[in-house]
């Protein structure tokens, strides 16, 4: 699916993507009493833990099968089993989520084969559920690892019991814990039952402990995941994901659970579509609370649009996040002048054009498979007003003396990455205020007058 016009053999300098098992670890951390286990050498799991920890400011345990040189040559079966056994002894988890690394993929390890017949019989105590997912980083980025893990979990746990549960499946994608909390609130306000997978709103953003927790509380309940086949519908976010194999589509083809593929609900348009879908599925009207929230948001757009109108933003991150942000920015009159992602689904251009049909006419530059050196080169040509994306854009924003508005993942040079709300009217309101105020502050600081009234 690669775009072919890319120059053969180009090195990547300052990548705008992370690797697949990181995405899978996100998912496994969002399931009740679950431990991610990376099959490979310890460097990968240590690096990935480090990244998750510095973003979330929370403890994150990820185990690994600790390959050594012999393991790399002769295979990692014994190590994997030993790791599983030790995890059970120490953590007594309900689920062990195994993701491969480039190393185990290169030597062609087949995890399900290794663990075949390795089950309850080997242990007296409760044997956990084991889900494995293949996540080679040499073909895909962290977001692919994320979605593959969601699919693997659904594939091996969800069933249909034929007692139709009045519940909705929500596949939120890689959002912040605060986003997940907000989504749950919205769905609950429609007085409907739901299963959200994954749900790391507590496991990645928990309170202080009064007593020691081996595995932080929270996460999607396994029982709930099992019931996903009985749901009345699934809602899955991500316009790119909509074109790919996904958990929602699997439930649709396997158990006839209709799947509503929507864009990430960032900004008014995409949130409207989300609430509309909930209305359709539940047959209940949008609660008054959201009508009010939407009204206040539009009111603030009216008050603030003149400050943001025709400002130009460099947007980067995962393809679906970029698409969502582009949709939001363009509805408030900001031109997402560069839309860049390290992802290479080959779909980003089309998805941006779906949202902003005249994107190319107004000079929007869409870069797929981008790295920060490329983004920097393009940004220098157009002198944007601000950057919006994760912490990794800081260097170029600084070099160009432009503000960087931090959203998405990873945010490791500011507090509160886990607390950013991107979705819903509430998220749009927060983003709108931050963006408007950033633009105002920049003009204020650089204005010879230094005005202080609106």
């Amino acid at each position: 699916m690669k775009t072919q016009e890319k120059i053969e053999y180009k090195a990547t300098s300052n990548a705008c993507k992370l690797c697949s098992p990181l995405g899978a670890s996100f998912v496994f951390r969002g399931i009740e009493r679950s431990i991610p286990l990376l099959h490979g050498s310890q460097g990968c799991s240590t690096y990935i833990r480090r990244y998750l920890i510095s973003h979330f400011n929370e403890p994150v345990d990820i185990a690994c099968s600790n390959f050594t040189e012999e393991t790399a040559v002769f295979g990692g079966g014994a190590n994997l089993k030993l790791a599983v056994e030790n995890i059970i002894k120490q953590y007594n988890p309900k689920l062990i989520g195994i993701a491969t690394t480039c190393l185990s993929e290169t030597i062609g390890e087949d995890v399900p084969m290794i663990l075949k017949g390795y089950n309850k019989k080997n242990f007296d105590e409760n044997f956990p559920e084991i889900v494995s997912v293949s996540t080679p980083s040499f073909s895909g980025t962290h977001i692919d690892g994320f979605h593959s893990a969601v699919r693997a979990v659904v594939d091996s746990i969800a069933v249909k019991k034929k007692i139709s549960a009045k519940q909705i499946n929500i596949f939120p994608g890689m959002l912040s814990p605060a986003d997940l909390r907000h989504l749950k609130e919205i769905v609950s306000d429609f007085s409907t039952d739901y299963v959200m997978l994954p749900d790391y709103s507590d496991t990645f953003a928990g309170p202080l402990w009064t007593e020691y927790q081996e595995i932080p509380e929270g996460g999607t309940k396994l029982k709930k995941i099992a019931s996903m086949g009985d749901a009345v519908a699934s809602i899955e976010f991500g316009r790119i994901l909509a074109e790919e194999e996904s958990a929602g589509k699997m439930l649709e083809s396997r158990f006839n659970v209709p799947c509503h593929s929507l864009g990430l609900p960032i900004g008014i348009n995409e949130t409207d579509a989300f609430l509309k879908a909930l209305e359709t599925i539940t047959g209940k009207p949008v609660p008054e609370k959201y009508i009010q929230e939407r009204g206040r948001l539009i009111d603030s757009y009216a008050d603030g649009h003149k400050y943001v109108f025709e400002a130009r933003a460099v947007v980067y991150g995962e393809e679906d996040l970029v698409t969502g942000l582009a949709s939001f920015l363009s509805e408030i009159g900001i031109i997402p002048i560069i839309c860049a992602s390290g992802g290479e689904s080959g779909l980003l251009r089309q998805k941006i054009l779906d949202i902003i049909p005249d994107a190319e006419k107004i000079g929007i530059k869409i870069i797929e498979g981008a790295d920060f050196v490329e983004i920097n080169e393009e940004a220098k040509k157009i002198d944007p007003d601000f950057f919006i994306g994760n912490s990794k854009g800081y260097r170029i924003a600084r070099e160009m003396k432009k503000p960087l508005i931090r959203v998405g993942f990873p945010i490791h040079d500011r507090l509160g990455g886990a607390r950013i709300v991107h979705v819903g009217y509430r998220g749009a309101q927060q983003l709108f205020d931050i963006i408007s105020n950033t633009i105002i502050a920049t003009r204020q600081d650089t204005s010879p007058v230094g005005y202080t009234y609106m």
Binding site: S20, L103, F138
Partner: protein
Amino acid sequence: MEALSRKRIDEEKVSLDSDEFMDPETLKLEILSKYPPKVARKKAKQIIVNRKETEEKYPEIQANVRTVPGIISQRGCCYAGCKGVVMGPTRDIINLTHGPIGCGFYSWLTRRNQTDPSTTPDGHNFMNYCFSTDMEEREIIFGGEKKLRAAIQEAYDIFKPKMISVFATCPVGLIGDDVHAVTREMEEKLGITIFGFSCEGYKGVSQSAGHHVANNGLFQHVIGLDNTVKEGDYKVNLLGEYNIGGDAFEIERVLNKCGIKLISTFSGNSSVDFFANSHTADLNLIMCHRSINYVAEMMEKKYGIPWFKINFLSAGGMSRSLRKIAEYYGEQKLIDRVEEVIAEEMPAVKKAQAEVRPRLEGKLAMMFVGGSRAHHYQEMFREMGMIPFCAGYEFAHRDDYEGRQVLPNLKVDADSRNIQELEIEKDPERYNPRISAEEFEALERNNIKLRDYEGMMTDMPSGTIVIDDISQYETESLLKTYKPAVFCAGIKEKYTVQKHGIPMKQLHSYDNGGPYAAYRGAINFYHEIDRMVNSKVWDHIKAPWEKSPELAARYTYQS
């Protein structure tokens, strides 16, 4: 307090045997009981209650052995040690990761090494960059050498660097790409120094293997490239100082003040130009013994440069180290100057110590980091009146714990064997022993121990706990049992510790703080620990209704 002497520590047994205090041996058994028998047997040798057994002997600890799969450890991989730790802090070499994107991405600017490019004429600084071949499926299948060649060419075309090094990650070793052949070929083609590291992550048992690989690479390809002899007296290299949070800048300030000429630091605030010339120094000073002792040994064999261990962390350590250097040279001019500098620096240090001590005296500290900091910081805590009660390394070897005298008895296991030991011979032209055998002996008699490191355990009182490669679960047990006033480790442990309401200081990245080395650094550190331990935040942990449950009960009753 001017440095606790070694002797005093031996005499000073940590006695914390009040009733609430669990005996360390009991805790050890408690921890082990949770592990499967095989793991427990192995772990029993890595959890040691320190006890001076005979005049010279401390208990044996098992270190530098594989982490058990499924036990969540602090350790990283060989690649991380090679690229991230040793090579990463050098500003003007292009470090190109040959592998899939993650390995390079995760090691991009995650250590807080600082550098000052203004001291090298070309001003090159590539530290903000992360170069990767970003291997994809076709390279895994058909081989990645072509892409590697193209990446080297591209890096050269764009940046015109003086030097490029290439790091092999796990998949590279398996598909059989030869980074050495490719780099040799590109070196010839481009006419600059280009070399590769076989630092695949699965080699060795931790970062430590990567340090060794990096040491070998530097020694073979960089050290000795430039024979220019620089002006200046008392020419030294500083080995194993990585300028986290500006430590090296503060050390440089003090050395300059003493008139000691720093030729090269490996590798904080460094340039490959300095490395190339480092064999012209008279003396190698070792900070982090674990990560860099190989270079010191090889330089001694090939060029005749002696080395000894110093510790510039803590005011006492700094003064003692400066005096050791002065005594080594034995020139009155230097001895006097060093005393003057110490006299100038110490009043501010003393003042800061006096300020924080009343608030910190007698409190417990624990530190589990790296291959030297867990030792180096102990004196710092003692200077504040605190008790370094538990300590351990993430990737050290037995000699870092027990002292180098154990070296001849160390077994070379399969994991160490796959790291090359270079055969070093005297350089036919440039070998020049800086001191004679007689001078060497005289120094030894004078208690200036060359080629030696006494290790951490010999510096810790009896009754303290030492744990090698501590696991997440063991960390929890220590916190729960002893509730230290401060726990030091890295980012991976930070939030677990803070979940318990215990302040946590990062000794890898310094939590955006620093410098902590030398005199001004020590003052910074005292204040930092004082702020953390005595912060108001911890007062809010219990809500009022939790603090006085009767109150809540009364309200319930009334309603």
